[in-house]
Subunit: 132 residues, 6 copies
């Protein structure tokens, strides 16, 4: 099994609902350093999993929809805690849509799976892994 | 599949028995930077895998039982090489006991698995992965 | 010249005023991974620059005054852009006050200087350096 | 499941054929920081997956066959794009040959699998995972 | 004293002349992860050292003149070893020219100095520091 | 001003005397990831500060005198706390002796200064800077 991982980041504000979150119930923010890993069993005709440049562009586009925003104000997240785990799934699902739409090229439709990891600090991260 | 990872560290002394260890048969020591990864298929009602604050506290408690000690003097490790691999299993099993005892909350009993990685330097690490 | 550096982090929301900031004029947020470096010419009687444990506690206390907050609502920053640079100075000056008040011990009053670096992502950081 | 990971690096020149590579079709180069992960279900009699020292030596030997070279001139890669993915497989397969030949010791023949990750920058990496 | 640091990278081929370089006399390559640090005594009217976005763009433009190239073929480096140290000076001097030409804005002309560090691997780097 | 930095590590046991050290008064250990930075105003005839290979070898030799040892048993440190700060000075002074003895080559005698940083964890480090 092969994989390729590309990294980017986003800087957002949000707050959480639920006692478990303690002081994170207040409006605060985070830099998420985001790693997106694309997996496939065999390489394409160019000898790659996916073009690193295009993968980087698509990840950047997905993060651009969230970057420099207060997620508490985004209709897509109404009623949801935008925890690191939830955001890992959102980024993953939006990348998957782009793969299926051909944004990463025809060969990228042979991808088997995707993992997205959001690092919220040097001490904590969350991931979501899905099939493609 | 979702996961959350938290990081802490411990600083211990120990020695190894066995020719394969060369100069590490002498009493020496290590800083282990420890990553604990908690996995589950679905998020809980708060939208998380496990509370990062509580996961951090429990990891800190487990490492606190080993930190600033000479492991050669610990009865739990009598007759064992406290290799990075063995310590990864010890930390993992002790975290699993805490999960089962409810230390991470009732919802954390839905966790599927656990991976513990100990980084002994910028060049080497060991991991142990187990079900929960 | 000797130095000791300790690391912690904070997660805040804020917005900037000024066209130069582009989309960062919107309410967003950041994780700042913060390194505080304490400098002195000679070590104290214990052979240290400053106790790493106490330095870590004081840095944590200073960051705790800002952590999990929307800095736009903090009276201390009214009329100020809480840029990474400005926050590096704020953290540095507050640590300096604690040093002068003896929070790091009597010997720590021999410290010569302080550098505080805030990493806002894997790609960008800002520092402020001052005498003590 | 246990694993041990060791890190080394190599510095090579190469060029790619295929429009997808854009400016990387020109002769350029890369530092690959290489992580090799060895996996097995149970530890050996010494309490380890594989000796970290020997694993490091074998990885260094494998990288030494590629290091400080223009891969466009290597007969082994004639007609191939030496993409990060392809090189991850090459390093992995060559390490596997050494494991099978006993270079990591008799006990290392109990290894179950191998993952090799090449980091081409702070932003991108590729991996290849195989059974042993 | 304040500073801001931004990071980018380039991937180049080159060879060295001189016995001291051993196998690096062969054509090989490197990924250089590049940190550019801008320093000034006081912040500008916006509360910053320099706009991180513009600094990132100018660093990217400077590295773009070298990226994906065989430096042995560049007329600018004829007769020079493009060592990590030499390239740190080249990047630094080219950034300085852009600062003086106003590419970082009028306020950036108040900058006092510049440090450029090139990381050639996880184990080695070189820096050049100059006044502005 | 130019500089070159090389990285290596050592794994030692030790204990501290003094109440300030708390639980670190017990026998424990550390991995020190060590960065040695060599500085000079002008490059040598080969276009370098110092040969990275030789600098790496000399740092490795200096660390080899301490590696895999219990520093409490080393006569050189009798009556001393082998704090991270003290060890940074020891490594620095021993490297300086080697520079003066010509181990880094005749040209390396033009070096102006040396900084040694020991990272004891992902959260704390200490440095010593001296002239050459």
């Amino acid at each position: 099994m092969f994989s390729v991982t590309v990294r980017d980041h986003m800087m957002i504000a949000h707050s959480f609902r639920g006692e478990v979150f303690g002081p994170a119930q207040r409006l605060h923010g985070a830099t998420y350093v985001v790693d997106a890993t694309f997996r496939r069993a065999e390489l394409d005709a160019d000898g790659i999993v996916v073009d690193i440049g295009r993968a980087t562009e698509e990840l950047h586009a997905v993060l651009g929809e969230l970057n420099y925003r207060n997620l508490d104000d985004e209709p897509d997240f109404a009623g949801l805690n935008t925890s690191t785990e939830v955001l890992a799934r959102v980024v993953s699902d939006r990348l998957a849509e782009r793969v299926h739409a051909g944004a990463l090229g025809a060969a990228a439709r042979e991808l088997d799976g995707l993992v997205v990891t959001l690092h919220e600090s040097h001490l904590a991260s969350a991931s979501y892994e899905r099939a493609l």
